[in-house]
């Protein structure tokens, strides 16, 4: 081979190698935005095909069969019921007391984690559903904890409409019994002036404030409109809420449904329609005595059928329509309101990419959202805009260059997303194949778990500003609201337990071992930790293989940095190298130390884009 050709070839390979390295880092960071976490092979696949093509493929993939979370939750619940029956006989399922056989919240947690850790195809859909769950909030921190299957069917709405129309999604959410219970428009009825009874205003308020138009009039770029005095302009007034509350009247659960027979409940009630005046006490017209999976149904005799007008005539309902017709029309109008596109755009951007999006970025995404709320186009823009443009107008001194692209820190990853990223990066699995994480241990430590916010305002508010440098430069950072002196150390402890201690998140497939059964699944971490087949394990086999050779330790740090940080050369690399010097011939400890130090470092917890 002539020398020139040889040199050319070497040059090409090294160029390609550098390029490839750059794209692997980029792919890794991209997947931190677009998925719940990715292992090496997913990252390499994306690096090969490029983010745009990956996005297309994800958005166009055939949707999974409908009702996945409900089905899985139900199966898990049935499994535990079966175990109870085997162990304690039918008396464990029937009885007047606090029945352990209710579909309690854990079964949805289990189904959620099974999906979060094992799904390999619909990664974007999975991530968008999670992001939407922090916008259209319901929570098992309420009576909904008694119906995991209802909650799962609500999550199915988010999952199945993730690339659909926001208007369709918001309609389905508004009619879902879980939202009806959580924001109390289920069993709400038209005014009875003689008794000073007015319609419940809860949902009317929150559908505007939190799910669509927000509190203040917005420009298309998400900035606040101002009046002549420079004040922000409210998007609605209390009279609008009162007017809208009249729409959400006359809705009940579809039918009665309770899971066992006892002194006060006969199985013959199940399947009977719920009526306002059917003689059943009102406390039985809600969870856990009604069907929480089927959409709520309207009762026109209790629906206010008068004409309604709100938002200065932006919404006008002629009257004489059914509750479902009116809800549909209201939702369509709210989604078409000029505020909703920038409002939802900003939420999704803050969830996935940056806490402080530029006006141009919000406007670009809002334009794709359009008047119907095209979520596929919206998500595509949320994730592809950053490939072409900078996303935040404020430049931090820490900005850096990579392959001619500027990068800077954009947001604190929420603790939940940190944990899913780690578990997915190292292919968390167990022998039984039942990845039924209880979730309580995670929630206790980091104050976050899907569908479990403390209020409808989510785990953190979009305008939260922590003390310190971010406050000085007037940037928001929502996720810092749950990064406190308590949770910051609790997170480090969690990483210590995961990588050095014996404890990964608890997985339960066994029924409660104590005599006094309060709940069906065993929840005691010490017990669970001794059930070998369920114990969660992280797959460090390749890493340990590399760690056996101390000369490859630098390479190992780089490799794990690429996976976890989206950056080959971590600033803390010298510190990591130093950390395991005294036990560098113990390959397991070396790998554990690298994982521990990377995951607690701010280079991991802060997302760079």
């Amino acid at each position: 081979m002539p020398a020139t050709v040889f040199r050319q070839l070497i040059f090409t390979i090294s160029r390609w190698g550098m390029f490839y390295m750059g794209t692997v880092n980029q792919a890794s960071r991209f997947l931190m935005q677009a998925s719940l976490g990715a292992n090496r092979s997913t990252i390499e696949q994306l690096a090969d095909m490029g983010p745009e093509a990956w996005l297309q493929r994800q958005l166009n993939a055939k949707a999974p069969e409908a009702g996945k979370f409900q089905r899985n939750t139900e199966q898990i619940w049935h499994y535990f019921r079966g175990e109870l029956l085997n162990a304690h006989g039918k008396s464990a399922l029937d009885g007047d007391g606090n029945n352990p056989a209710l579909p309690y919240k854990w079964y949805f947690h289990m189904a959620w984690w099974q999906d979060a850790l094992s799904e390999q195809e619909h990664l974007l859909r999975q991530r968008v559903a999670q992001a939407l769950s922090e916008l259209l909030v319901i929570s098992d921190n309420s009576s909904l904890e008694l119906d995991a299957i209802g909650m799962a069917s609500f999550y199915d709405l988010l999952y199945e409409n993730a690339f659909g129309s926001y208007a369709d999604l918001l309609y389905a959410v508004s009619m879902h019994p879980c939202m009806g219970v959580y924001l109390s428009h289920m069993n709400n009825q038209k005014a009875v002036p003689a008794k000073n009874i007015h319609p419940d205003e809860n949902y009317a308020r929150e559908i505007m404030q939190l799910f669509s138009i927000g509190l203040f009039m917005l420009n298309p770029d998400g900035s606040l409109q101002r009046d002549e005095q420079g004040n922000s302009i409210p998007s609605y007034h209390n009279r609008d809420i009162r007017e809208l509350a009249r729409v959400f009247t006359g809705l009940t659960a579809e039918s009665y449904r309770y899971e066992w027979s006892n002194r006060f409940w006969s199985s013959s009630y199940n399947g009977q329609p719920v009526g306002f005046d059917d003689g059943v006490e009102s406390s039985y017209k809600t969870v856990p005595f009604v069907n929480m999976r089927k959409p709520m149904v309207g009762h026109e005799s209790h629906h206010d059928r008068g004409r309604k007008e709100l938002l200065d005539g932006f919404i006008k309902l002629p009257g004489g329509q059914s509750v479902s017709e009116e809800v549909r029309e209201v939702v369509d109008r709210l989604v078409a309101h000029p505020n909703t596109a920038p409002f939802v755009a900003k939420h999704l951007i803050q969830q996935m990419v940056t806490s402080n999006p530029s006006g141009d970025y919000i406007a670009a995404v809002a334009e794709k959202f359009g008047a119907r709320g095209d979520l596929a186009a919206t998500i595509q823009e949320v994730l592809s805009y950053p490939l072409r443009n900078s996303v935040n107008d404020t430049k931090y001194p820490a900005q850096r260059e990579e392959d001619g692209r500027s990068l800077q820190p954009q947001k604190l990853k929420s603790p939940l997303l940190r944990l899913t990223q780690i578990l997915r990066a190292f292919n968390a699995s167990n022998r039984s194949g039942h990845l039924w994480l209880i979730g309580d241990d995670i929630q206790e430590a980091v104050q976050q778990h899907p569908l479990s916010a403390s209020t409808v305002f989510n785990f953190y508010k979009p305008d939260f500003v922590p003390q310190g440098m971010l406050k000085d430069i007037a940037e928001v950072a929502p996720e810092f609201e749950i990064h406190t002196s308590a949770t910051s150390i609790a997170y480090v402890n969690l990483m210590y337990y995961w990588f050095f201690g014996k404890y990964l998140p608890g997985v339960s497939t066994e029924i409660n071992q104590t005599d006094n059964i309060q709940n069906a699944p065993e929840l005691n971490p010490d017990y669970l930790n001794n059930v070998e087949q369920n114990k969660l394990r992280l797959d460090f086999s390749e890493e340990i293989q590399i760690a056996r050779n101390p000369e490859r330790h630098d390479e190992l740090i780089d490799r794990m940095s690429e996976l976890l940080l989206g950056k080959r050369q971590a600033d803390i690399k010298p510190a990591i190298r130093e950390a395991f010097q005294s036990y560098r011939f113990n390959p397991e400890w070396v790998v554990q130390t690298i994982a521990f130090m990377l995951t607690i470092s701010p280079e991991f917890t802060v997302l760079e884009v």
């Binding site: 820490a398 209020t455 003390q467 310190g468 990064h483 910051s488 201690g501 950390a579 130390t593 701010p602």
Partner: protein, 466 residues
Amino acid sequence: MLKNLTRRQFVQGSMAAGLAATAAPTFALPAVGNQNPPPLNIDQGKRALVCIMLDGGNDSYNMLVPHSPSHYREYAQSRGNLALAKDSLLPLNNFRDRDGREFALHPSMPEVAELFEQEKLSFVANIAPLIEPTSKQAFLDRSARVPLGLLSHADQFKHWQTSRPDIRVQQGWFGYFADAIQAQKKADQIPMNISLAGSNIMQNGRHSTHYSITGTGSVGLVVNEEESDLNREILRSFETILNTSYSGDPFKQTYLSITREAQLQHRKFSEAVEKISLPIEFSRSDLSQQLSKVAQCIAASEELGLPQQTYFLRYIGWDHHDELLANQARMLSVLSKAMGEFQQALELMGLSEQVLSFTGSDFGRTLTSNGNGSDHGWGGHCMVMGDAVKGGKVLGQYPALSLGDDNPLDVGGGVLIPTLPTDVLFAQLSMWFGVKEQDIPMLFPNLHNFSGLSNEPWPRLDLLKS
């Protein structure tokens, strides 16, 4: 070399490193929208303020109910199916307001009723964040300046913490205390503002922040618990990361400084607090457990080096649009029990003179029913408890509970305009805490809008002994 150090020396050594690393970062971008801090003068003294926020909007018209016959009738008529039966209520004897109104408490609050009788607790009626005195006419024709985001949880909950309903700020009055008292705070010193509810605005100052603990105490590193070579190395690795500098990176610096200070403060905190034993056993409710921790902290104030402290607690779940009667009864019972236990413990520990506790809530609720609950309102009632309180009173003006044109405060559906701004209560609590009277208007700049209501620069409540 490291191996020769004891763990204690090691931790102290790393604390010193931590201090060095918290030196101010070198870059600065222009600060936007920050108010200048009020240069407060605060007298020193042993004082603790405990704020219990009832998150969601307590329906306080069913907590403190008018009991004299004509007033009860008015109550029962407006509240319809939400009205509590008269004979179920706990009458509060020996007090009658200037309209001759007598009062009773929700049946699930016997402990609070007893505290009222013992004159250790008073109510403040129809109070809420307010910018200026607001008449119904001025409200309806929109000539009055009213709080931003009226009737919405997020804003009203915030306004209770800032008492600045005219603007949206990220600082609260407890935070300003700390800016003055702990102006020179070192990183390992524990903040005087202690939260059992995580992040909040009330305890944020311009520079100061809160210290977050849980009902079981502060959270420390588990690596510290067990001595082993590996654990020592891991701890060292952790400290190294804490002390890495990411100057010019506001996200990473903020992440690290919160984590670093938590690590520095935990040991000191837990050593001082955990050895304090409590004279009574508190109930198992989260609120009781949190208040038991507060009692321990107050008892440890000397060792913590915190003669003055504030506490922020948040009892969530009062948004009773639905199933009001059952849910509020359950939660008021938890609240009443917890307050009774807290006061009792403080008395037995000899601390009750130096503690004032008060409740707040997003807003009162509509007098009218939505069938099964009530909706967002505005004015409501709160409680103030402690030995320093002139107890057994209902202060402020308890409103008429009639509806519509009959009631000069009803702006629709029984949403009542408050007649007392939170500023007035907070000013009094602040002065008790040590803030000089002349500095109060800096802390609560809207107070002067209410000067017309009394002969003083701002209205006073007859709330505290001397």
